[in-house]
Amino acid sequence: MSKENQLVKFTKKGIYCPQGNFYLDPWYPVDYAIISHGHADHARWGMKRYLCTDDSKTILQHRLGADISIESIPYKKELTINGVRVSFHPAGHVIGSAQIRLEYKGYVVVFTGDYKTQPDFITTPYEPLKCNTFITESTFGLPIYNWKSEEELRDDLHSWVRTNQSNNRTSVFLGYSLGKAQRLLSLLDGCDNIYVHRSIHNLNEAILSSGITLPKTKLWSVDLDKKTLQNKIIIAPPAILGSRMLKRLPNPATAICSGWMQIRGNRRWQAVDAGFPVSDHADWNGLISAVKASEAEQVYVTHGSQAVFSKYLNEIGIKANELITEYGDEALAKAEAETDKVTVE
């Protein structure tokens, strides 16, 4: 049995470290969970103790309850748990997101959680890490996914808002409350007044309470006058599509913001006006460069295109295996839809 198998084990409850006696983003309730970031498919309810980054702490408390037992440390600070050195490193995915680095007797495992290698205007930039075993996500693990730069995206979004304004339409951007919403805020900052849906507003409050600053927004509430919202910008979770709240808006133009929008077919069949490929995940070149920079002897590929990406890595001489987990966009979408249901009319 090789060393890495001793440091992390893939169990039914999630990725387990026997020496440290803790789990990484487990999907079943366990005693001690180290959490990469606040998305619902990674940070689940029911763990006895949580450990996360300082920037994720208030997000987890907001989503999982103020009464959870939670500790946090800053990025790059090392904590030794039962002899295993544990540290968080920026993943560039959403606010507070981290790769989890484990070191034991000189053997290093890096679990990326979700990550994005391209810098944006809001998250702490991704940090490439060297290790022996690299556990990477592969949400966009196909060569058709390559993202535009943040500046280009900003220009695209701003010009769409301008076009809408010239046609007297209110621009509604749809994206998950954690991550996409703040990213859109940073991209749209300075374009015009931004209104956010209550679920995003509440999450933003939680983020602000940890000392992070966000662009100024106003709450989009039902009692707002139609005139006030005319030609402005609204950011809301995708669950709002088809709701009465959306229908009440004066002449809305809707846009879905997601990496899947890279494909024209996906943009066109959604019942929205536009689709912008704004992704919080690494694109194809990002994934390849992260794997190469890790110099790992063994790569495990989790949620997304794990079969394709691991096959390709093996072909270019990098030992890689698929790893079936319960992370992924669909799990996230479902969890998000459930939390948003309460607030979407």
């Binding site: 058709i144 599509l241 024209r264 394709v308 669909e330």
Partner: protein, 529 residues
């Protein structure tokens, strides 16, 4: 190509036809003359033939991107469109090529006769000088369909807005015979190549759905009743030895239905006749499904002509030898129509729409219920004295459709859509109960919202029992109401019945799977023809 590329982008970021028209108008205001002509040519299906083979382009793309074939194919199957897949895979441009649409099209026309080596050099040079969106357009210009959500009608409306020229005249102009090389934009839109007086149609008279009891319509013998045929409503315009066929969507469809043109040629009088274009074989009307096979095709093969022959049922006459007779009472117009059709021996596929014989209103109920057996959608009720109205007017004409047939069935297979819906499960197979087992009765894909499709796709991912190629066998749990146009016994189907034109009418979340229909209850829906 920047202008054209910007236009495509502008069209793609809106769902509103008005915004698309706006974008087109803006393009027409600033684009060079020849570019405008090419745009019209491309959007109306006047494409030059493909100068480079698809397989070659694929090969070159793999070579440049250095991707193994399996990964290229994996990408292609995710995107669903080859031109787009290549545009997404190709590297960032190394330089900037700035040719107009006309210049590109001219180059492509000369490319056809060149050697593969020259073609390769040309394509690679283009790819390295165009951004992603432009590459996509370039690949589309070389071949494949250029579908971007702009119909001929939208294009015509944009031209009408720009020029204030009558939309139907513009439709005739752009559909007519013209070549980019030999006409100017001004000449084209003013119709220098056509004689619009010969093709000009009338606005269609439309009916509302019947919303009262029959007896409330008054005396039954004040009314003429016809079958409501499910085809394409059309006007045949015959003037000065020219024949034009207009669809209700105000498109000129003359070239698609050559059989009709031939038959109408036999008449000696001039006229404008309103009627229904139908798929018709051995005097029987076929389903709209069949008719669809004949629509929007560039070439109609001989096989297709034999399989789906086109027929026409004439409903009304609006103009006779140059006289507009729309104000005459319907019964008089009908008589005129009958005498024209009686004047010559006609091929059997062009007929007068027959009238429903009846005395009392009550008799119509059973006639309507039997409409389905002859592939009619129900009945049309027309007041004998009614003029041919412009557009929809309440009171004189009513349509009285049959209710759709429905069953409750459970989903047993799901399959991912292709192309536009490639990331979701959109095609489902349904079963009903047969003794203790299930038996497949229908395959259907339309009728659900995007939201429901997303929800079902997530469910399928979780509940797939078996994978077989793109097909997932799922737990028989989700119940749907399936509506269809007709049902018949069939020994080609395991279930013993064939449903015509099945579609999902709603997702029955309220219904557990053990309450679905049985094959016996389904068979009871069959009415003897």
């Amino acid at each position: 190509m920047k202008l054209f590329s910007n236009l495509i982008s502008a069209i793609e970021i809106t769902n509103k036809t008005s915004a698309k028209i706006e974008a087109l108008v803006n393009y027409f205001k600033i684009a060079p003359d020849k570019d405008k002509l090419w745009l019209i040519a491309l959007f109306t299906g006047k494409r030059p033939s493909r100068p480079v083979k698809t397989t070659l382009m694929r090969e070159w793309c793999m070579e440049i991107t250095n991707l193994p074939e399996w990964l290229f194919l994996e990408s292609y199957s995710t995107v669903g469109d080859l031109g787009e897949t290549m545009a997404l895979l190709l590297p960032e441009p190394s330089h900037k090529l700035d040719l107009s649409l006309h210049e590109w099209m001219t180059e492509l026309k000369t490319l056809k006769s060149k050697s593969d080596k020259e073609k390769k050099a040309f394509v690679l040079e283009a790819w390295s000088g165009l951004d992603q969106q432009e590459c996509l357009i370039f690949n589309k210009l070389i071949g494949g369909s250029f579908r971007i959500g702009v119909s001929k009608k939208t294009l015509v409306n944009a031209l009408a807005k720009l020029t204030n020229i009558d939309a139907n005249q513009l439709m005739h102009s752009i559909i007519g015979n013209w070549e980019v090389d030999t006409i100017s934009f001004e000449e084209l839109i003013h119709g220098s190549h056509i004689n619009y007086d010969n093709s000009k149609p009338y606005p269609f008279c439309l009916a509302y759905a019947l919303e009262k009891e029959l007896y409330e319509l008054g005396e039954s013998n004040d009314w003429i009743i016809e079958q409501k045929w499910d085809g394409i409503r059309g006007q045949i315009v015959k003037r000065n030895n020219e024949i034009y066929i207009w669809s209700r969507g105000e498109e000129l469809v003359t070239k698609q239905f050559t059989e009709l043109v031939e038959a109408v040629n036999n008449f000696k009088d001039d006229f404008v006749i309103d009627g229904e274009i139908l798929a018709m074989k051995d005097n029987d009307v076929l389903l709209f499904n069949d008719l669809q096979k004949r629509l929007n095709r560039k070439n109609v093969t001989k096989k297709l002509l034999e399989e789906v022959p086109i027929g026409f049922y004439a409903y009304d006459i609006l103009e006779y030898n140059g006289d507009d007779i729309r104000e005459l009472p319907f019964e008089d117009r009908r008589k005129r129509l009958e005498s024209i059709f009686g004047s010559i021996a006609l091929p059997e596929h062009v007929q007068l729409s027959f009238l429903v014989e009846f005395n009392k209103w009550e008799e119509l109920h059973s006639i309507r219920n039997n409409s389905r057996a002859i592939n009619s959608e129900g009945l049309m009720l027309k007041q004998k004295k009614s003029p041919y109205h412009t557009g929809r007017k309440k009171g004189d004409w009513w349509k009285w459709k049959v209710d759709p047939l429905t069953i409750d069935a459970v989903m047993i297979y799901a399959q991912k859509g292709s192309g536009r819906r490639s990331s979701k499960y959109t095609d489902y197979t349904f079963a009903v109960k047969k003794d203790d087992a299930l038996v497949t009765v229908a395959k259907a894909y339309s009728g659900l919202t995007d939201k429901e499709i997303t929800e079902i796709s997530q469910w399928v991912n979780k509940n797939a029992i078996e994978k077989f190629g793109p097909v997932r066998t799922v737990k028989p749990e989700l119940v749907f109401e399936i509506a269809f146009e007709g049902i018949a016994l069939s020994n080609r189907h395991k279930s013993g019945v064939a449903l015509r034109f099945p579609r999902i009418s709603r997702w029955r979340k309220d219904k557990p799977a053990d309450e679905i229909d049985t094959i016996e209850t389904v068979k009871q829906l069959i009415t003897a023809p």
